[in-house]
């Protein structure tokens, strides 16, 4: 029985996809067109009552929230593929710390930038330039903290690649790509090196190849 991942074209599900490839977990994808509002269909809302992607369906076992899904599969398949959770409870604590940072400090401004710059015209509203400016300033401050952190360790949770780093891949790919804000990464020496390292991993290259951005 192969686990299904809903919504592979979009950024949050890509966290799960790259995690699965790192852990050598077989999966299938179920396409969903968010621009057509398929995530608000009653059938989908039965799986995910908040109407967001991703959702995973593993036989009868259904999970939502990309970071919860990643944690589960990284733990379940601990003994295969890349170790993404650290080797001790303390290392896991650091992974959780920086995964939370990604969720609460990094993701909100970069998500707003994505919505405003890449999706506003497709969703039928004007891009809010003030919001873009504000979000870029917030993201810049977060990246300054990352620059300092990454001058002291190779990856966010320590000297090992983990879910904390992986979680940044999908939206940062938008930032350096279609959003045209690569300078935010390149102007910071350690962030730049870290980005090159994590984005060149074969797992991420595979995701980009198999599930290109939907526009």
């Amino acid at each position: 029985m192969v686990v299904k991942v809903y919504g592979p074209a979009y950024a949050s599900p890509k966290r799960v996809l790259v995690c699965f490839i790192e852990k050598e977990i077989e999966f299938e994808t179920v396409p969903l067109d968010l621009l057509k509002g398929e995530h608000k269909d009653p059938e989908f809302l039965k799986l995910q009552p908040f109407g967001t992607v991703p959702v995973t369906e593993d036989g009868d076992y259904i999970l939502f929230e990309s970071r919860a899904i990643m944690r589960y599969y990284a733990e379940k398949y601990k003994s295969q593929g890349t170790d993404l959770l650290g080797k001790t409870i303390e290392e896991r604590g650091q992974v959780e710390n920086w995964l939370e940072v990604e969720a609460h400090s990094y993701n909100p401004p970069i998500y707003t930038l994505t919505l405003q710059i890449l999706f506003s015209s497709k969703l039928g509203f004007p891009c809010d330039e003030n919001l873009v400016k504000e979000s870029e300033e917030k993201l810049a401050k977060v990246l300054d903290v990352y620059e300092e952190k990454l001058s002291k360790s190779k990856y966010l949770a320590g000297d090992f690649f983990s879910l904390a780093d992986l979680s940044h891949l999908p939206f940062t790919q938008y930032l350096v790509g279609k959003m045209g804000k690569e300078y935010m990464i390149r102007s910071r020496k350690h962030v730049s090196a870290w980005w090159d390292d994590i984005s060149s991993r074969p797992s991420w290259q595979k995701v980009l190849q198999l599930y290109p951005v939907p526009f």
Binding site: P49, L63, E65, R67, R71, Y72, E96, V145
Partner: protein
């Protein structure tokens, strides 16, 4: 070795950590951080938490920040002690993480904004944005509807027992019900109301309420 929890005892995020430590019977001391005096923006504090937020913990040499990372760490470290806050299996744990993520992404920001506008700003002698608060309230109604549905199928968010997923909601809901005049969000929903009664009457939470002196 006593865990040091940095942050004001009245703030929601440090309360999340303290509730967990009390559940797991882990001794801690509170190191007060004066937010009004902007102590969280001092260079000393920023060494501890580079985003200038509370809480942070110091446990001997081990340091951590982000309340939901801290509670996951201690719930795992002291798995054998006190109530099991992480579920009984990998699948159970994943449901805990799922509902913790729901709290973090669908619930927390709405509560934070509403409480800021209706409670915190007025206490500081400033005007809160009532329209913004009302918008948060309407969105919270929809979130609580989903919780009502979930809790009609399970006693607690992640299943049959109290876990970090429920615990994480305690500080925010207390602010909503006791300080922001939003008790109807809970009281008007049968299962949410029963759930709130159960989780807010736990002895660890009551101990914290005494410590905070509410």
């Amino acid at each position: 070795m006593v865990v040091k929890v940095y942050g004001p005892i009245m703030a929601a995020c440090p309360q999340r950590v303290m509730a967990c430590l009390l559940e797991k019977d882990v001794e801690f001391e509170i190191v007060h951080v004066d937010l009004e005096a902007e102590e969280h923006k001092t260079s000393d504090f920023l060494l501890r938490q580079p985003f200038g937020q509370v809480p942070a913990i110091e446990d001997g040499d081990f340091k951590l920040f982000e309340s939901r990372a801290i509670i996951r760490y201690y719930a795992a470290k002291y798995e054998e002690r006190g109530p099991n806050l992480l579920g009984n299996s990998l699948e159970g744990r994943a449901l805990v993480d799922q509902w913790l993520e729901v709290e973090a992404h669908n619930f927390n920001d709405l509560v934070y904004t509403l409480v800021l506008q209706l409670v915190v700003l007025p206490r500081m002698g400033k005007h809160g944005d009532v329209v913004l608060a009302r918008s948060c309230e309407q969105k919270l109604e929809k979130v609580f509807d989903i919780y009502e549905q979930r809790l009609s199928n399970a006693t607690y968010l992640a299943g049959d027992s109290f876990t970090l997923a429920d615990l994480s909601h305690l500080p925010g809901i207390r602010y909503l019900v006791n300080d922001a005049g939003m008790g109807h969000l809970v009281a008007e929903r049968k299962h949410v109301n029963a759930w709130w009664e159960a989780i807010s009457n736990r002895s660890a939470w009551k101990k914290l309420m005494k410590l905070v002196n509410y």
